[in-house]
């Protein structure tokens, strides 16, 4: 039986499923309900000097009939008084002494940091998360992502916090930056115990075609909001792995955040080096009950592979994520269509024909709608297999290697790469391309 418990930079929790600092963690009521449903930890909605929110706050990106495949908000930090929040932290810890309650904080001056840290520690918080991520409203006031985007400022504030805090400190990073390693390194230099990422991404969700105002609209106007939900997961995962692979950061525990909804998402983040995960949008969409699917799926994954704790597989994907120049260039795959499964939509044909390498042909017999792969033309790009609507109908088949494995790096060293505009060593040389005029000939 898998043991899901974690010790995250000294913060203990019965499992790695935590709620991210956001509306689901706005109150003790919600957090107790969540713990009862199976969540192992919660990062309290960011506390500081209470704010005032606008009405109309969220926007959703629907893709086809999938609601909220992306989600954004223009909310600020907690609008409740610190005293109310502290009282409830204390109460939650009384009922759930072994669950992780982490206080997310955002204030300005060193004095305020010292004061609020003392307050939440006294209330019984197991850890502190520094919100250097909020991309709207707070940054205009010199907090949130305004700090997260300035590595030196970030390092200074983390230093203040570390000097004051007795409980473990997690620094939460904003993705609104060109290289996530910069704030990551600054947090480590400041002495942080752990890092969490990502916060939301600056975004415009859409425009009302009648009023020309962006969503969410507040009395005819809108503003850029913070983007999150399933759509941001690939961006967040890359940032997590960048930090997990960085030699100066990799020793610091990472809490992965962004688009997590299912057990698969959880496993992927852990494979990339995260040792706790945080969820906001999925809990806002489906409620706390969503955790039961994550829990059962993660346990099954671990039991089937004999992993006893999440540390047995944390980071296991990292050695397989290398630089492009280290990839084996003599490896080749070719698409293969299973005619027994094909339903004849010909999406693969037109995708390859118009969007890739003209490596799929259709039959001249109108009764036969099953396309064929022209293997010599197939570059193994995957496109057809990605558009095919039938599960496992187009597979990418590994071809016997014609030459020994060789990387771009090695080709460069041996002088075997194209160096001039018309170099005959161009990769596409010899690859079939139709005559341009064939496009308009009947």
């Amino acid at each position: 039986m898998a043991d899901l418990s974690i010790n995250f930079a000294g913060i203990k929790a019965p499992n790695p499923f935590w709620l991210a600092s956001a509306p689901p963690t706005n109150s003790g009521y919600q957090i107790m309900k969540a713990f009862d449903a199976g969540w192992g930890g919660a990062v309290w909605k960011t506390m500081g000097v209470p704010i005032i929110n606008v009405s109309s706050r969220y926007g959703g990106l629907n893709y086809r009939d999938t609601r909220m495949s992306g989600f954004n908000n223009i909310e600020l930090i907690s609008d409740r008084t610190l005293a109310d929040n502290l009282k409830e932290i204390e109460e939650v810890k009384k009922y759930f002494p072994h669950h992780a309650v982490i206080a997310s904080l955002m204030v300005e001056s060193r004095k305020e940091w010292e004061q609020i840290i003392r307050d939440v520690e006294n209330a019984g918080a197991d850890g502190i998360e520094l919100n250097f991520g909020c991309p709207h409203g707070m940054c205009e006031r010199g907090m949130g992502s305004a700090v997260g985007q300035e590595p030196e400022v970030l390092e200074t504030i983390v230093g203040w916090v570390m000097a004051a805090a007795k409980v473990p400190v997690i620094t939460k990073l904003t993705p609104n930056i060109s290289n996530i390693e910069d704030p990551g390194l600054a947090a480590v230099k400041g002495g942080t115990n752990a890092i969490s990422l990502i916060n939301t991404i600056k975004s415009i969700m859409g425009i009302d075609l009648d009023t020309f105002a962006p969503y969410p609209t507040v009395d005819g106007k809108g503003t850029n909001g913070g983007y999150c939900g399933p759509a941001v997961k690939p961006i967040a995962m890359n940032m997590v792995r960048q930090l997990a692979q960085h030699p100066d950061i990799s020793g610091t525990p990472i809490s992965g955040i962004g688009g997590i909804e299912t057990w698969r998402d959880v496993v992927e983040y852990i494979l990339l080096g995260a040792t706790s995960v945080q969820v906001c949008t999925a809990a806002m969409h489906y409620g706390f009950g969503i955790v039961r699917e994550m829990d059962k799926g993660l346990r099954r994954f671990m039991d089937e592979r004999g992993f006893e704790t999440i540390y047995d597989f944390a980071g296991k994907a990292l050695p397989n994520i290398v630089e492009w120049k280290e990839l084996n260039m003599s490896y080749k795959v070719v698409a293969s269509i299973n005619p027994a499964k094909c339903i004849g939509c010909q999406l693969c044909y037109i995708a390859c024909e118009d969007g890739a390498h003209q490596a799929i042909s259709v039959s001249s017999d109108p009764a036969n709608r099953i396309p064929s792969i022209i293997e010599e033309n197939c570059v193994g790009c995957n496109l057809c297999s990605l558009v095919c609507p039938v599960e496992a109908c187009i597979t990418m088949e590994k071809q016997p290697a014609k030459v020994a494995p060789v990387t771009w790096e090695q080709l460069t060293e041996t002088g075997n790469i194209p160096t001039t505009f018309n170099d005959p060593r161009a990769g596409g040389n010899g690859h079939y391309v139709p005559e341009p005029a064939a496009a308009i000939k009947r």
Partner: protein, 461 residues
């Protein structure tokens, strides 16, 4: 004047001559989904909060959870979720009247969107673990206690599974040579195949290790006494009996059979079962619809479904009637049976008299007798209850419909050593009800044998 009702309709189905043609005529109504179907269908589920589909399932399977598990590639986990609530997960996915249960409650109906095909998704997940012999459950650590289960139908098998998990040593006594009860011997062959029903029970038995003794009918007081001496508790999952007698003239001639008997024979003889050209099915319940559909699928040229009352008053589900109609069955309503006509010791037809139903009261129309000629009469007018057998158990009481009285939470009968569930208790419902009641009774047995608290408050229903 006795008029004769006759028409020259052609049979919709050709008489099946081989196993293959039989399977063709009895094509599965809920075929196994492929990966793509399961993916697309599971994507449509909204993961409702406090989902109405769950409430509508008599076993309360966590439907949104198992559907999400299918969608995230955790099909094995989905099967586990299903079996956690319902030991007949696969059979139910195939034979449940989902239109009036889970799928009927799916919120998509309110938007006139096709409800999620919950039954077929359930079948998709459970079939995978059965075929792969994926072990999901195991016998609980022995608690040294023994329970006898009488009847290897859905109720008995579910009770045996649940008790095994709880650490009991269970022996099932079954009168017939196979398990599954009416799942195989009763439900229509286009709902579930014999192999499917039997493979699920085999799969469960492999993991849980309860014993089943076939060809072991318990019929005497001595046998019961011996069970009472050897076992700590006894579960009655005996179902209901054979087709009840109608007490009409001609009932005993050749060519008159009961629906349950007809279906049982059909399920094992398949294409080798002789079904004559013209069939009259008597009754208006689901069993009547099934028997009529099945006769038509066996190539009978004309099948009449004759019911005493009006079409609206039929007890069967409208979708089952529609299915019978689509197989070529003709409904004859407000026709009350007078007598079964014979010629040379063989059935020749059925004489009816027309009726009118007013405010639920049925009156015969004078001089309205008519005859439907036929070579086979199938009585689907209800099954007899096991009164004689049950009278051998001291203290057991039956209600006015001759159903065993039980505590509605523990399924304990008024004889505290005996527990009961399934058709014998509910008077004849669905497989899913038997599965639920068998499981609950196991919990009731466990409670009764382990709790040293005051006995449960009586709540007989």
């Amino acid at each position: 004047m006795v008029k004769s009702l006759n028409s020259d309709l052609m049979a919709e189905y050709k008489r099946p001559q081989s196993e293959e043609e039989f399977q063709q005529n009895f094509k599965q109504k809920k075929p196994l989904m492929n990966q793509t179907e399961a993916f697309v269908e599971s994507a449509r589920c909204l993961f409702c909060y406090d989902a109405p589909c769950v409430k509508a399932c008599p076993t309360h399977i966590d439907i949104p959870l198992f559907i999400k598990q299918i969608h995230t590639g955790n099909t094995i986990g989905a099967a586990e979720t299903i079996y956690d609530s319902n030991w007949m997960g696969n059979a139910c996915g195939k034979v449940c009247p989902t239109q009036v249960l889970c799928e009927g409650a799916c919120v998509h109906n309110h938007a006139h969107v096709k409800p999620i095909e919950i039954g077929r998704l359930q079948n998709f997940a459970t079939r995978q673990v059965i075929d792969q012999e994926k072990s999901l459950f195991h016998k609980g650590a022995s608690n040294g206690k023994k329970v006898a289960v009488i009847g290897a139908g859905p109720a008995g098998i579910s009770c045996a599974c649940e008790l095994s998990v709880l650490g009991y040593e269970v022996t099932v006594f079954e009168a017939l040579e196979r398990p599954s009860g009416l799942t195989v011997y009763g439900t229509a062959p286009y709902k579930i195949t014999n192999e499917e029903a039997l493979s699920e029970i085999d799969y469960l038995q492999q993991q849980l290790g309860f014993k089943v003794q076939y060809n072991s009918a318990i019929t005497t007081r001595e046998q019961l006494q011996s069970l009472e001496n050897q076992y700590d508790a006894i579960f009655l999952g005996v179902g209901i009996g054979p087709t009840a007698s109608l007490n009409v003239k001609g009932e005993d001639v050749k060519g008159v059979t009961g629906a349950v008997e007809f279906i049982r024979e059909l399920r094992f003889k398949k294409h080798n079962m002789p079904v004559p050209r013209r069939v009259v099915v008597l009754g208006g319940g689901n069993t009547a619809m099934d028997a009529a559909s099945e006769s038509a699928r066996m190539g009978a040229e004309q099948v009449f479904l004759a019911y005493r009352r009006s079409k609206e008053e039929m007890g069967g589900y409208s979708f089952e009637y529609d299915l019978a109609l689509s197989a070529g069955v003709q409904g004859v309503f407000n026709a009350s049976l007078r007598e079964i006509l014979e010629q040379d010791g063989y059935v020749a037809g059925v004489e009816f008299v027309k009726t009118v139903s007013q405010n639920g009261r049925l009156t015969e129309v004078p001089d309205s007798e008519f005859v439907i000629e036929c070579d086979l009469v199938i009585k689907a007018t209800g099954q007899a209850k096991m009164v004689d057998f049950l009278s051998l158990i001291p203290g057991l009481t039956l209600d006015s419909s001759r159903r065993i009285k039980v505590n509605t939470q523990t399924y304990q009968t008024e004889n505290p050593r005996y527990f009961a569930g399934g058709d014998a208790v509910n008077g004849g419902a669905e497989v899913v009800n038997g599965a639920y009641e068998g499981k609950m009774a196991a919990q009731g047995i466990h409670h009764s044998l382990t709790s040293h608290l005051s006995p449960l408050t009586s709540n007989h229903g």
